[in-house]
Symmetry: C2
Subunit: 293 residues, 2 copies
């Protein structure tokens, strides 16, 4: 089969053998926002048309390709949900020459009754389910970081934190960015930001401190962005970790997972990093139970 | 004397009689960022040169005019500070034909040792000191909201919240703004945002809820910005109010003070709104004790 992780800004395809192993892969900066006029079929054939011509008829896609802005709006499945609940609601996309399906997203409501959604992350979590021992916490860091509770091989509930996007907006469009210069990540400054998140005071107050530390020479221009990143990630991790602690299963790009590993450790919890291929493994796992015909 | 509140984006001048009453006033969108090439003396004479020619020699200025980007960098006075401490450190600005002075800013450090600063707000707080009965809390809402504890006619300590600037950055430069249309403030949506701030979950999580409520049709495009404003102000007020409650003395523009009044009431505390002339009264009070010669 072919598994495709098709998000907002990137396209990744995996050719998967019967055991779920990756026999070939392709990646392109062809996320759904880059595909004009809804020509998704054309794009799919451009990327993996040769694999389909080669006999791969089963194509399973996850991510924002199943959103209102994507190819076909797939439903949201209510949590708790595992492989069975997700596979039961795969959306079929009419496509000549291939049996094409889209993985549904997940939804739940938080304690206050506000809805939560994910699209794509559910497939990545399914991909690492077997490595989670008993009740566990999965974290998928990013623009909209997802934290999901997993028990009995199902995603029980989850919460999203806007940390990544807030970082970009605060850095790029507030006074905080004026004292910052582009620089590689400064781990010492990042750790200081994480530590600051544990101090009394709300995030909105801590943010102003990024400015004053710069004004008073306690944070130089090459450190500011790293400190701000640590401050936001520190707040996120501290808020998302349960009181009793937990092992956090980090799923995502290596550089970002490294930062979260530091922040989780600073909060006294343990983490395990899963590679970027969680999506491929999740697609293979879901594809195994899908009733292709 | 002449009192001038000269901030980043606006210039306000008050002609004050011996009793501190305002006998005339001028305002212009000529904040320090609008004055090119540091030509502050030229700008001052353009705005109030006739008053000076008329015999007003004593000119006292507060606000960002005393910052590194202003006319002359005035010091920061350490808290606790009242009229005596502030007057002792007025900065003298050389100016032909007038005895020109700048009010110093204030500084303190928060529980974690991070510095805090204000410039201009100290003068507004001094302006309403006489109306504060016993220990009190002053709040000056804005891009960088200030919350100050006052006791024995001195500012004991204060904290800044980046709420206003964070609102603009999040609304204008994240996905949250995509589901928002310009509209007058919707007080019901604002109140919902304030109520949301009291629910479990961190601000970074609540922010994502602004998106999902829009996606699920629970918040329409004309309500989104009001809800986001309530969410941020609700978080700020809740974090800034002491556990035992307090009377909050709000100082600022009427429309913004109205919103804070609602948020303070929702948190179970009482507030009093002081008008926009607090700066004029503070300048008059400081001018009374300044040793002009």
């Amino acid at each position: 089969m072919i598994g495709i992780d098709w998000g907002t800004s990137s396209f990744r395809a995996f050719r998967l053998d019967a055991d779920g192993a990756i026999s070939d892969r392709r990646a392109a900066p062809r996320g759904i926002l880059a595909v004009e006029g809804g020509r998704f079929e054309e794009e799919l054939l451009r990327q993996v048309g040769d694999w389909i011509a080669d006999g791969e008829r089963q194509v399973l896609m996850s991510g924002m390709i199943g959103s209102r802005q994507g190819w076909l709006e797939a439903p949201y499945v209510a949590c708790p949900a595992g492989v069975a609940e997700i596979v039961a609601q795969l959306a079929v996309v009419p496509c000549e020459g291939a049996d094409l399906r889209v993985v549904p997203g997940l939804t739940c409501t938080d304690a206050g009754g506000t809805p939560e959604v994910m699209r794509g992350e559910e497939t990545q979590i399914i991909g690492v389910l077997e490595e989670m021992d008993g009740p566990a916490l999965a974290c998928l860091p990013g623009s909209h970081s997802k934290w999901a509770e997993v028990a009995d091989a199902r995603i029980v509930r989850f919460a999203t934190y806007l940390s990544g996007e807030a970082f970009a907006a605060l850095r790029g469009h507030t006074i905080l960015g004026r004292l910052m210069r582009d620089a590689p990540i400064d781990l010492a400054a990042f750790d200081r930001g994480v530590a600051r998140a544990a101090e009394p005071g709300h995030l909105l107050h801590h943010l102003f401190g990024v400015r004053t530390l710069g004004l008073f020479g306690a944070l130089d221009e090459t450190q500011g962005a790293s400190y701000l990143s640590g401050l936001l990630i520190g707040h996120e991790v501290r808020a998302a970790l349960p009181a009793g602690g937990a092992t956090v299963h980090l799923i995502g790009a290596a550089a970002l997972c490294d930062l979260y590993t530091r922040a989780v450790a600073a909060c006294g919890a343990r983490s395990v990093v899963h590679g970027d291929d969680a999506a491929a493994r999740g697609l293979a796992r879901l594809g195994r139970d899908a009733a292709w015909h």
